[in-house]
Symmetry: C2
DNA sequence: CCCCACTAGTTAAATTTTTAACTAGTGCTA
DNA sequence: TAGCACTAGTTAAAAATTTAACTAGTGGGG
């Protein structure tokens, strides 16, 4: 019977394919990552963001925003990584409420060991199978989507309510 | 410095955009869904799959496979939905180890009330912004990806290990 | 037939994530 | 410059998820 009407059928199909494949992909990448480096996907992503940041450090809030993590989830995440020696935490000089996560040498080393495996995994499972036009299309679509959603965040109002 | 090399830069950009936007999108859809119907995204998805299944029932394993859920996660999910009266559980006639989740009338009603809102949310946040070529591209890419990943599942071997 | 290795699904414990309440600090404004 | 609403981040308790062990049942080979 299809409660799916109201989304034309080609779009419904796109939606289904996207959701399911994405879920599988994330699961697969996470499995690969943990198979060859004691990192979760979240751990890895934190390391990447810190490694690219000036001074290899970021404010908690900034990090949470980029990871799309709730504040408390990030607190937990970082303290776990801190216990494992991958990051440290420092008070923020210009705002005494704030703190920043800082990449440690061990964290950088761990990242550099994990990255080749992880990137190979991204290539094998996703990228190698895409032609240039597809890559361009994904970039265009998801850049736009990301930008739009980044904006929604504060705008409280959700989707069109009739 | 960029540990990102080994993925050419256009693909790296696509990858980043895809991950981040997807994360935001899923978060947003989940928020919308819970704002206007007491359902999580997982609840909703279970209801959809059951509503489309013959006899509005599915084996636990089948459901877990389609949702990309671990068996124990699904057990938990279904028992929660059972407590809320959205599904019931029956022994499987032909395999006495198995059980099947069955959609209840209340579950179907709940789904039919939630669906318009949810679909509007999918449209607003994602689909309305895509042109037909983009929809076609996403479908092609993610159908292929899904198919490929569905196959990997049992094939133990992960990505190319040099 | 009857073992026995395998499959389906559940359960219990540990870990992670969410929710809600809270602490501390900031900065506007009156 | 004191009051106050707001921001940054943490904490504690509840809910969800993973991991690992387990129960029950199946089905093929000997």
């Amino acid at each position: 019977m299809g409660v799916t009407e109201s989304l034309d059928s080609t779009r419904a199909a796109a939606w289904r394919a996207y959701i399911e494949a994405s879920q599988r992909l994330f699961t697969q990448l996470e499995d690969d990552l943990r198979a060859d480096s004691d990192l979760t996907f979240a751990d890895y992503h934190v390391l990447v963001l810190l490694s690219e940041a000036p001074g290899q450090r970021l404010r908690m809030g900034e990090l949470a925003g980029r990871l799309v993590f709730s504040p408390s989830r990030l607190t937990y995440q970082i303290s776990s990584m801190q216990r494992r020696g991958l990051v440290s935490k420092e008070a923020c000089p210009d705002d005494r409420r704030g703190s920043e996560a800082v990449l440690t040498a061990a964290g950088l080393l761990t990242l550099s060991e994990a990255a080749p495996h992880h990137l190979a995994s991204v290539r094998t499972h996703l990228m190698d199978d895409l032609d240039d036009a597809e890559v361009a299309c994904l970039t265009r679509v998801f850049d736009r989507l990301g930008t739009r959603l980044r904006a929604v965040r504060t705008t409280s109002s959700t989707h069109a309510t009739s």
